[in-house]
Symmetry: D2
Subunit: 421 residues, 4 copies
Amino acid sequence: MAAGGLRLADMLARIAETGRSLIGAEEPQSLIERARVILGGEGEVSGTARARGFLDAYRALDHEARLDFLRQASTGLGADPAALKAAIERYEASGEDIDARALHLAAEPRSQELIRRLNRAPGAMPDLLAMREDLLRHLREDPALAALDEDFRHLFSSWFNRGFLELRRIDWNTPAAILEKIIRYEAVHEIRDWSDLRRRVAAPDRQLYAFFHPALPGEPLIFVEVALTADIPAAIEPILAAGRETLDPAKARTAVFYSISNCQNGLRGVSFGNFLIKQVVEELSAEFPSVETFVTLSPVPGLRGWSVREGIEEPSGDALGPLAARYLVEAKRPGGAPVDAVARFHLGNGARLERINLDADRSERGQSQGWGVMVNYLYDLRDIEKNHEAFAESGVVAHSAAVRRLVKQAAQAGQAGGVRA
Amino acid sequence: MAAGGLRLADMLARIAETGRSLIGAEEPQSLIERARVILGGEGEVSGTARARGFLDAYRALDHEARLDFLRQASTGLGADPAALKAAIERYEASGEDIDARALHLAAEPRSQELIRRLNRAPGAMPDLLAMREDLLRHLREDPALAALDEDFRHLFSSWFNRGFLELRRIDWNTPAAILEKIIRYEAVHEIRDWSDLRRRVAAPDRQLYAFFHPALPGEPLIFVEVALTADIPAAIEPILAAGRETLDPAKARTAVFYSISNCQNGLRGVSFGNFLIKQVVEELSAEFPSVETFVTLSPVPGLRGWSVREGIEEPSGDALGPLAARYLVEAKRPGGAPVDAVARFHLGNGARLERINLDADRSERGQSQGWGVMVNYLYDLRDIEKNHEAFAESGVVAHSAAVRRLVKQAAQAGQAGGVRA
Amino acid sequence: MAAGGLRLADMLARIAETGRSLIGAEEPQSLIERARVILGGEGEVSGTARARGFLDAYRALDHEARLDFLRQASTGLGADPAALKAAIERYEASGEDIDARALHLAAEPRSQELIRRLNRAPGAMPDLLAMREDLLRHLREDPALAALDEDFRHLFSSWFNRGFLELRRIDWNTPAAILEKIIRYEAVHEIRDWSDLRRRVAAPDRQLYAFFHPALPGEPLIFVEVALTADIPAAIEPILAAGRETLDPAKARTAVFYSISNCQNGLRGVSFGNFLIKQVVEELSAEFPSVETFVTLSPVPGLRGWSVREGIEEPSGDALGPLAARYLVEAKRPGGAPVDAVARFHLGNGARLERINLDADRSERGQSQGWGVMVNYLYDLRDIEKNHEAFAESGVVAHSAAVRRLVKQAAQAGQAGGVRA
Amino acid sequence: MAAGGLRLADMLARIAETGRSLIGAEEPQSLIERARVILGGEGEVSGTARARGFLDAYRALDHEARLDFLRQASTGLGADPAALKAAIERYEASGEDIDARALHLAAEPRSQELIRRLNRAPGAMPDLLAMREDLLRHLREDPALAALDEDFRHLFSSWFNRGFLELRRIDWNTPAAILEKIIRYEAVHEIRDWSDLRRRVAAPDRQLYAFFHPALPGEPLIFVEVALTADIPAAIEPILAAGRETLDPAKARTAVFYSISNCQNGLRGVSFGNFLIKQVVEELSAEFPSVETFVTLSPVPGLRGWSVREGIEEPSGDALGPLAARYLVEAKRPGGAPVDAVARFHLGNGARLERINLDADRSERGQSQGWGVMVNYLYDLRDIEKNHEAFAESGVVAHSAAVRRLVKQAAQAGQAGGVRA
């Protein structure tokens, strides 16, 4: 030891800097081959370095080469057919639970284990999310990618389990690097600049909450913007206005969720929104005991598209409310769920369609999507469970008496009911 | 809204305090029934509260009732046989990867999904670990529990993936609540009191590193104790001695891993040790550039038991070194792995058996396990990969020339070689 | 610049490591000479390094040499007599405020400015405190040191101004390095070991608060230990007992300050206790709304000494209560303040002498100081101001009716009233 | 106690909310009277609340009323003349140091003690700074305020002692609330918006360091902006340009201090700049070992005004360099210090006037102050001490050979040397 003494630090540095020479020398050229090496090893000794090298190599590829790899991984890293066949036979012979479990393992695609092993590299998660984003961009045109996408979705659902998420309040003491991302990720009502942001996070009657995950420090997963108000709001402009008067939050009686944005495309299909709303309701209830009503101010993104498909190009002002009510309550997709994506989300959470507001969003997008209509969904904890179950089991859309009257008007006006999109 | 106003905070409080009355009213009595309800729901609305209620109810049960539930969950929450049968048929008809994936999902035991859903409750992880500890206590006598144990092990492996672990240095500025756990969890060389602990974490030539996981704040998963020394140590007592002289760490040439302890019984089978050693080597290399040698001072826990089984009740002093060398290099389990558990771990990591030290551990345990023999395993990064592969593929035990001489002595002394335990 | 380029980092390192050679070469030998150099410079360029060097040199001196310097600084760094004379003359001529201010400055001893300049060195404060500790150790026997001590006291009073102190709760999540100091500094009821400490900071009905100062990170200045109880306690043992039952703090009606310890000898004469108690009362009030009574359980350290001086060597049990009452209410120092130091402190804060408890402290110290008597001082915010003023102006000792009865008993029993110590 | 139980929390709340009624009832109307009450009390019991009340009352006053109080405090809270007279007599009789110290205390204006006691209120420091800002605004027109200003300056110098300052790197992870202040306080090269700020703190070759004080959390005291460059820069525009190319900081050889801004008007006369530059040099040296040169890029704010006073309305391009050189090296104020404020600062720190850059600042301010001339001051640690002393003692302006040549040119061109402003 004394003489030829090991300089581990130097070794590590050399490995890192010169392209991981020890490993690299024997490293195969193609990513899919490297994936097989990672799957073949015990993953214990050089696994971390190999995974890091793999992710770096992937990132260095051009668009086409990445897609090639994703396709190969999706179609070429399935379960081992021979082992699967044997497991099936054992299960069919015994019918035992224990053999069903063995079958479960034998049927697991190796691509799933690949993703797990890649995640052992330090800081792997952003790379894995980016990889899935690549994949999602081509999923529609290239169905062969669906299998790998399913692996990602499955693992992300497990890793981003509710129990691992951390709720944080975002305010004016939040690092600029995170605030900058809030500006970028806001998907409903654009944040125009830092002054606009400041109004949404620094005013005493405005709040912004986000979920974070320990493997993605500094990266919000989803966030919700909240306005504390006296009453249920009927339009978005007074909430976002620059010169508006501030309300003493101790006097607020209503909390309005006026914007919810998912931040990570790579996590598509892993849903946090429901948990976020519930936890923010708890936070607000604890901090502002005077707040009694929890409600959204939501867009109706599919209204105009659906109406046009229904043959209604430009409804009269009087007809717009009934039309929107009918759309939200009765327009269903083949499986029975509402056509409107925002409605699906809140009704699925157990909220009630409370009020339809005309002339509520004068922005270009608001006009083009839904002629300026916005909607309040009400979260009333006493009914949430009941609403959710009726919705999940029978597609029942919980709605207020006022909305019911509008639906009736629509029917009387001769608009067809129960339309399927 | 105005009049019959919703007091959500009150509702939440009532739910929490009165035993979750809304849910509780319809809550079935037995845990296994509650588990089925949790599995049946979409898990979105009341899922978190139900999961929390379930975990609390489990904890409130007595020993027998818990075991009953664990048995039922292990045997009664397998995959749905009809769905599994259909999936098998589809796969057998097509042989397609996509159908193998569907089969994988269909074969997944529902108990796995149950554990995932329970983990959505806030602070669920300690409960889940405790549940698995209950399970492990009875695993040997009750093989029916093995299936559920496998679910836990599988999910914990995914959730405690290397990418989610955080390395922290433990020192005298660490909160007492964590230090107290280090005292409790130390499994190799007992920490007698806070003064003993202080010597191991506060001296400039002593370090202690631990892995933590975000879902278990304040709970170390595994830790390693390190001594910075001039040379490779030949005994444990000088390292632990109260009155020893401190070495200026800038002059240390050797880092000695003299104790590694797993802290969470509930994570049995999820291995962190290898990652921990590698990352601590990196930390130490960066902080103490003069350190050139990374080595353990390890017990030989199985030596005496094996020797007695071999018919050697009390070896002479001269015979002890060769005996230990033969035991470590040649005594193998049926599958080819070394009999000695500590040897399996370090050799499996790619370390080399460097030196055998007689009269190295005078403690009662050291005497009773291995007549006071301790061993240095050397982590030489240049050979780690090669050693690991030779070990994994052919069971080759990397060892120094000095150890080789001892093995030869043993052979010449007529001790039988190549023994199987 | 390019060629003979300046390597500032090297320069800095050289300076630091080789004993600050640039400065050192011309550095005078004696500390008092170095002090004069520091006072002579503008203090801007090399001042910080010189101050650091001075403090290191002081620390390296032996006991006698330090004392020599302190004496020289105390007697030799007064104001400049000529400048002072001129300032006096100007003031006497004009009688103007502005000239009084100039006189104030001219009369300032240069030793004060020396301490200010030493405090510019990074991490100077612990050195300055240690310097004053040296000084205090010899103050009684060496009155020449009083002048310098007065400079320290004056500057420390300004620097440790209430506005700069930070209150922190000490609990089981506090770093061990700080907890260790709590053990060491506890001056009233000794903390025997870490288990004893744990009982005082980790139980839900026990609290410990300390003041910290930003220039002394990790060093408590003063701390108070609090027990949350049902009623006003009559003895210390039930509060400290190892096996005692814990009280749900939400049900506590009384907060008991049972120990207050100053930690920094070097800050003698700079008083924090009053501020600490007031702020802890605020903290507790906010966190435990059920607590209505704030009271101490205090020793009577001077009772026995005073009694013996009064000729009472061993009072009967019946006589002890009246004796203690008379001592606390009537025994005064020449200036009119109570003889008892603890009484002076709490009564000076505006507290009321509420109850005298016999057989309240069975420890050796408790017996030897006051035959086991302990006292409750009550902090009743409604009377605090009034009590304080009556005490400060006329020496009135606020006390309860029960104590008044005891004083009367003493008088009737023929004990002399209004004793002066 | 039991019945009429004290609800301290309520009491505290009542006091805080209803205008501190207990105290307020007897509170005198005028601020100067309240000041006398604060000075009269022991300051121990109600002092903190009184101080807080005083500061709130001051803030609620209008402009004129504040000024009235400041005048009264400046002229009416001097030392007690009788006590001062007695102290003078004692000192004149004895000539002893101890009596000089007593004289020092007797001559201390009570306004100083007032400020100390106000600082005991929680969060008092921002109020005290604002009070001094009020004072400074009127100092020139109202010399009676000078006395109080001197008290503030003296105490702030002590409280903002170098030993209490904390250096922090400001970057893109800094809270927005602090970054917003950086934008506001930048006094040299305006930060136009958040994108401009981002370029100055988030680029790898840009750094920003600030001093903070524990009594002013979230408030920078002074900050310096640093550019890491290859060579000494000759103009400001390339440093601030939006589209500039980033330099790998590991390759930088020069650190340029291109902007230094004081943030707190209330701290005028308490100087931090010298300490800041020295400590930032240390930080940069440690982090970027390749940086060998530390230099400023500074404006010459007084050049044009001085030139015009000298009769030079519009120098030719050729004459501008010599003119600037003569101005910086030879134009002195009556006391011998350079006319130029920026020059006074850096030369006083021991820097050398290294280079004069023409056409270096095309901004309006740069043109109007100094025809676009900017200057590099070089911080060469080997000469800093020597330069500083020569400057402090004899007003010598250290300058490079290149600057010397310019001065000579100016002389030869017939410009008058040694001008006094």
